[in-house]
Amino acid sequence: MAVITRTVDARGQSCPGPLVTLARQLKEAQAGDLLELLATDPGSRSDVPSWAELSGNELLEAAEGNGVFRYVIRKR
């Protein structure tokens, strides 16, 4: 079971906030680290997978519960 090394809380932010916050935190992480992104922006459902494709980072999980979207990303 891989361990989440960092939680990026972008709840309440909207486009392009969550991705900018994620990119900033990602800069400080090591390659291979797992990051958890929490967001409430419904646009993140399409944007986080697109961002993963553009940036080459791996999107491992995408889930939704209680109005919060949760994504797990592995840093390239």
Binding site: Q13, S14, C15, P16, G17, L19, A23, L54
Partner: protein, 185 residues
Amino acid sequence: MSEREMTNTERELAEVVSAAAEERGRSKRDKLAIIAWDGHLDRIWPTLILSTTAAASGMEVSVFFTFWGLFALVRPGVRITGKDWMTKALSVMNPGSPGRAKLSRYNFAGAGPWMLGKLAKDYKTPHPSELLEMARDMGVRLIPCQMTMDLMGLTKEDLLDGLEEPIGAATALLEMKEAAIQLFI
């Protein structure tokens, strides 16, 4: 003998193919190049959203600010710019910085931009003034147009810190040529 010539030809062909692939790779860099021509709030806004998102995705980004777009790079504190009565009058009619930019429609003497700013705050969408700072922090290259600076009498002191050196049309074209995505906004 003929077999050896064939090998040489094939090798040459392979070289040409790989050079072509390399050239294609060079001309399609993982880069976004935007020409920011319009200075309206509702144009500068998407320009900066796309720029910061591209930078957040690890893309190289350059934005060339020309004509009315250049006024988005005017320092927030700077009111009147220009070198003579015409350029000064233009700067009064067209105040600089995103904080004072007008909407392309529904401006209603500033009521429109104020409402949009209020909505953005409520929905926690960063205002172009914040996005501009974010873009700069994220390494987005903000490039002023030299000709517009001369034409409008804008000096480096009138513009924000941390900008690239002003460039001309040919360099702007080169920025676009090597970018995978080019936009004129």
